[in-house]
């Protein structure tokens, strides 16, 4: 009973720590308009923190990420569209800052590769099945003839 108590205590301590963690969220920005706030949250999640590279702006405690979040906020408040802000960011940091890459001739292979690989796979599959189908009767017939004679 005593051990259970200790365990419960530990668990509750851990849980309350986990709960405060969300309160420590990196970005405390609140925009006056809930619609703007929603766009702000979406944008800061799809823009990359250039210093940490695998984190979104929204999740990064780095100074530069805070500066870039401030840019997003100011431009939203100034009435810029999401596309304007994305274009502004990629003009400075390149397409790399966009977690969701844009379609362009340069990265067309990136978008096309899965389809091409699927096509190759389908072709190989079709060829294998076709050769098997022609081989099967040919394999069986001599066997049957051998058994009969």
């Amino acid at each position: 009973m005593k051990r259970l108590g200790a365990r419960t205590l530990l668990l509750s301590a851990w849980l309350s720590l986990a709960a405060t963690y969300t309160a420590w969220a990196v970005d405390p920005t609140e925009l006056p308009d809930p619609k703007l706030q929603a766009r702000y949250v979406a944008l800061t999640h799809e823009l990359r923190c250039m210093q940490c590279q695998n984190e979104a702006l929204a999740d990064s405690p780095v100074d530069l990420a805070a500066d870039l979040r401030r840019e997003v906020r100011d431009q939203l408040l100034a009435g810029k569209s999401d596309d304007d802000i994305r274009a502004w960011m990629s003009a400075r940091y390149g397409d790399f800052i966009l977690f969701r890459p844009r379609y362009s001739l340069r990265n067309a292979w990136l978008w096309g590769a899965p389809a091409i690989l699927l096509l190759i796979g389908a072709l190989v599959c079709w060829r294998v099945v076709r050769t098997r189908m022609t081989l099967l009767p040919a394999d069986h017939e001599p066997l049957e003839e051998d058994g009969q004679s």
């Binding site: 250039m50 210093q51 530069l64 500066d67 400075r92 390149g94 790399f96």
Partner: protein, 179 residues
């Protein structure tokens, strides 16, 4: 023979793709700047030496300059400083500094203590100018042509190798040494 040709071809293709990947992997941490070949972002910022005076990109047109982003909080910048002093001594191309999100007094102390390789230093307290230049970590150095076009960018401490291979040939008008 024929049935081995396709797998062999695929294997060679994969090997080539992986070889390219391995060959270029150190560059993965360096993000190509979309600024190369474009006009350098215009700036007019208070000078570190005299905040009443402005360092302006418009005044720099007509000759080559290096645009070096640094800060006293940046350890790699201290390592780079000796190289910048050498570039300054060579006297081939002036260095304009951008003191990025720094404390002015500390920056002045840094330059008095370590030596000042800069023709002038602009202060960027808000960090907005560094963003305009697409800076994501100090030190970063840009080479700007007399027409005001960004020609080359070096991320990290400037190396003698970059200086002799990339910057010097461009500045002195000789054909740029590639590879």
């Amino acid at each position: 023979m024929n049935r081995f040709l396709l797998p062999l071809g695929l294997f060679v293709l994969l090997a080539v793709v992986l070889a390219i990947g391995i060959r270029h992997s150190p560059e993965k941490s360096i993000i190509a700047s979309p600024l190369i070949g474009k006009p350098a972002p215009a700036f007019a910022l208070p000078s570190l030496a005299d905040p009443a005076h402005e360092v302006r990109s418009a005044d720099l047109k007509g000759h080559w300059y290096l645009f070096n982003v640094w800060g006293t909080w940046c350890g790699e910048c201290r390592a780079e400083h000796e190289m910048l002093l050498q570039v300054h001594q060579a006297g081939v191309v002036p260095i304009i500094g951008l003191d990025w999100k720094d404390d002015d007094t500390q920056a002045v102390a840094w330059l008095t203590q370590l030596g000042n390789p800069y023709q002038s230093v602009a202060t960027d307290h808000s960090g907005r100018m560094a963003i305009d230049w697409g800076v994501y970590g100090a030190p970063e150095t840009f080479l700007v042509s007399p027409e005001g076009v960004v020609v080359y960018k070096h991320v990290g401490a400037l190396t003698p190798d970059t200086w002799t291979r990339e910057i010097l040939p461009r500045v002195s008008g000789l054909p740029a040494g590639k590879s």
